[in-house]
Subunit: 125 residues, 2 copies
DNA sequence: CGCCTGATTCGACACATGTCGATGTGCTGG
DNA sequence: CCAGCACATCGACATGTGTCGAATCAGGCG
């Protein structure tokens, strides 16, 4: 659980795919961030910086089996298109991944995300 | 340590003298967030969701002695008023506190912030 | 006092973001 | 093949956000 290598964030799985294979999360407090690192990490924080998105992320993360279909989590007080919009943002930020199975689309937390956040805070030092 | 009334984040006020001693963040992945918690936590993430602010935060956090004056950290590629603006945002989000000593204003990371982020990720479970 | 330096505030502006209803797409079942 | 459900995309709109220069405030120093 400890000593994980810094993990890479997809940053986008849409048409706009970039190489962008660099590690995402140097410790936040032990050394000053480079501009490039700051941009990448800020994108992650920004994606979680909306109450609706944070709730959606939490619903997926805490859902049984580690995944949830949209219908399971879409009750967050905004319209269905808006939910879809926010899920897309989370996907583009590399925090969630999606997969269609039959009628439903299932979302799960991207595997390396939590480890990345831990590394970010330098908690496994 | 868990299950207590999560604390209100400042959300405003420049005087910046609030106690702010309790943890702010229920675990993010073990259970679904309430709307109120989501709003509070999202405000925190949002404050870190800008590259300039993230760099400023990192500069303060990693600075020797745990504090830095504005002149030490203002080289982030934007004008000095913009730096001041972002520092204000970080202050309002409860992430930094400031103190004037003579000519200079010193910023430091609010004491409970890092612990709060750790709790948020449920890493001390 | 007057001035210089450090820092915040103000006013303005371009741009990004969150939201909605309407519409489109993909799959299933009759 | 068509009706219907689950999601996604589109277009539009109000609001929020990051940025700047100019003005202002706060201290130190001649």
């Amino acid at each position: 659980m400890v000593g994980l290598p810094v993990v890479e964030l997809p940053t986008a799985e849409l048409p706009t795919a970039e190489p962008e294979s660099a590690p995402c999360c140097p410790p936040l407090v032990s050394a000053e961030l480079s501009e490039a690192d700051a941009v990448r990490m800020a994108a992650m924080f920004k994606a979680l910086g909306d109450p609706v998105r944070l709730r959606l992320f939490s619903k997926v993360a805490s859902h049984e089996g580690g995944e949830a279909c949209v219908c399971d989590i879409q009750d967050v007080g905004v319209s269905q298109p808006t939910v879809s919009h926010h899920l897309k943002k989370l996907r583009e930020a590399g925090l969630l991944s999606s997969e269609r199975r039959g009628t439903w689309v299932y979302y799960r937390v991207a595997p390396s995300v939590l480890a990345a956040m831990a590394a970010l805070l330098d908690l496994n030092r």
